[in-house]
């Protein structure tokens, strides 16, 4: 281990030590306020982001971790997302009393898991990273053990994530059977004999498809989205999924080109069923968190449209879409979190009637996020869809592109439905609990939405120069 390795490991070390520091601060004899702990957490995340700037050249440590432009970009995204989620959690009424050092350190650890997963070059590292990502989530979902929903969500997620982990692990071992090494690059080298690597990748895909809520591994997602506290939902609906997507892209598009090409028809089918199932399920859904869960299933379908193209444009489109997807969902769930009632989230769409007028900034943010999800210019969602569908057309998948466009049209209905309810003239609304909007929440919502717009106007910042 050399000095350059340590420098490159900076963000990881900072996150790990930061988590331990927060824990330590929390149990100091003198009472440290939650606000201070949050501040420390945010500082740790900012330092971690700053440490990624030190990465100069693409670098690899022992075939375990790789630091390149892709991982840097998404590590920064994860850190930003974690900051936003921390801020949201601080002002999120239901968990406010329950949020102490445990919560914050778990947020830091789960971020560490994402970061490791994003930059792992080795399947064992990826597996451990995936688990660091998901084990804290079991607890975070069930963070309000007084609520029956929360416990049920927690146990369901733990069990099903266990199955997914088993599939991922099985894929890993089969990859090892194939090449005698756990390195991703090594996996591609002994590709000649049979389709063992393809089976291995397929099983890995099952494991990751679960995390991504790809149809048919999607069943958990609406239940868990509904059960978890909104900031946590925001966490695993946005940056956690982006991390998984990036590992998938690293595996398929950057290291295992032949497997990717062999998998294309499968990706095609997965894209189509994900889009249709997601959009149909979302269509008449009345619970906003479930609705967003279904809509994100459809979005994973759109990303798979890009992946099914099998060309470099498809790869770039998938990368860009992952980023845009994370931001859009973060924006939407941030608003849901900001509008939570004192003990639980607002769930039914009707509970949101007229809130867009009551809180104009949140209303506009929700509008931006939802229109981005629907794919309207000048948001990042539009560019993402344009690139994804464009790559499908370039690859000659006209039918796929048409199906995707039809699905976008269907999706438009329910996004607009939310917005209409959101901005409806409110009826008599007396004695309603009015959430005071803290500045931190507003600031993070504004940052996310300006990023959505900004990346829609300057997409070239993201789409250039991936290896």
């Amino acid at each position: 281990m050399q000095a350059i390795d340590l420098i490159n490991l900076g963000p990881f070390i900072i996150l790990g030590l930061g988590g331990i520091t927060v824990l330590g601060l929390g149990i100091l004899p003198g009472h440290v306020s939650t606000r201070t702990l949050t501040a420390v957490t945010i500082i740790v995340l900012i330092l971690g982001t700053a440490a990624t700037i030190l990465w100069k050249v693409p670098h690899e440590i022992d075939g375990i971790l790789v630091f390149d432009r892709l991982s840097r970009l998404f590590i920064q995204l994860c850190m930003l997302g974690a900051i936003v989620i921390t801020v949201l959690s601080l002002y999120y009424p239901p968990t406010q009393k329950e949020m102490r050092e445990e919560y914050l350190s778990l947020i830091l650890f789960t971020t560490l898991g994402m970061v490791l997963f994003i930059s792992s070059q080795n399947l064992v590292m990826a597996f451990v990273g995936l688990e660091i990502l998901s084990v804290p989530l079991f607890a975070l979902i069930a963070w309000l053990p007084k609520q029956k929903h929360a416990i049920e969500g927690g146990i369901k997620y733990a069990m099903l994530a266990g199955i997914a982990a088993a599939f991922f692990l099985y894929g890993t071992t089969l990859a090892y059977v194939n090449s005698g090494s756990l390195n991703i690059t090594a996996l591609s080298q002994s590709l000649s004999d049979g389709h063992l690597p393809a089976i291995a990748v397929t099983l890995l895909l099952v494991g990751m498809g679960f995390k991504l809520a790809l149809v048919p591994f999607h069943m958990w997602s609406p239940d868990i989205y509904q059960a978890a506290p909104a900031p946590v939902t925001a966490l695993f609906a946005s940056i956690a999924k982006a991390a998984v997507l990036i590992f998938l892209i690293r595996l398929l598009c950057l290291n295992l080109q032949p497997v990717w090409e062999a998998l294309l028809p499968l990706l095609w089918i997965l894209a189509v069923i994900s889009m249709f199932a997601g959009n149909l399920l979302a269509l008449f859904q009345q619970n906003i968190k479930r609705l967003l869960a279904y809509s994100s299933i459809a979005h994973i379908g759109y990303i798979f449209v890009a992946l099914a193209a099998g060309n470099s444009l498809g790869r770039d489109a998938a990368i860009y879409y992952s980023l845009a997807y994370a931001l859009m969902n973060l924006g939407a769930f941030a608003v849901v979190a900001a509008l939570a009632l004192s003990d639980k989230d607002r769930q039914s769409l009707e509970e949101y009637r007229g809130l867009g007028r009551q809180y104009p900034i949140l209303g506009i943010s929700m509008a931006i996020s939802l229109l981005a999800l629907a794919g309207l210019p000048p948001t990042a969602g539009f560019v993402a869809k344009l690139l994804a569908f464009g790559s499908a057309v370039e690859a000659g998948h006209f039918i796929l592109a048409i199906i995707a466009v039809i699905n976008t049209a269907i999706a438009f209905y329910y996004y607009l439905h939310i917005l209409i309810i959101f901005f409806a003239e409110e009826k008599e609304r007396t004695g309603q609990y009015i959430v005071p909007l803290p500045r931190g929440t507003l600031a993070s919502v504004i940052v996310i939405n300006s990023l959505i717009i900004g990346l829609g106007i300057f997409p070239e910042l993201i789409t250039t120069d991936f290896p």
């Binding site: 451990v128 084990v135 607890a139 053990p145 049920e152 994530a161 890993t172 059977v177 005698g180 868990i224």
Partner: protein
Amino acid sequence: MIPLSHSLIIAALLFTLGLLIIMLRRELLFILMGLEVMFNGAALTAIAAGQYWTNADGQVLTIFLTVVTAAELAIALILVWLVFERLNTTRADNLKLLKDNIDRGPP
């Protein structure tokens, strides 16, 4: 000497058995046991492959597997206990609070 494919088949059998346990049994604890069986199927694959390639990576993988299983199981068990305490059940099919509301139908 055991052919590699025999070990792999036994491991696959363990894996699918675990999956079957999860799919068929309704008790949460049984589901967790099924999960263990699945993990161990994967572990057997790793060990067999380690023997085939005669390097230590398979065993390292298995060690990490054990660690991960332990961590996951610990949380899963505490959640099972919470379910038992708060919801007074240990069966998976009693966990039906979270689902699509299909009675009301679309507007």
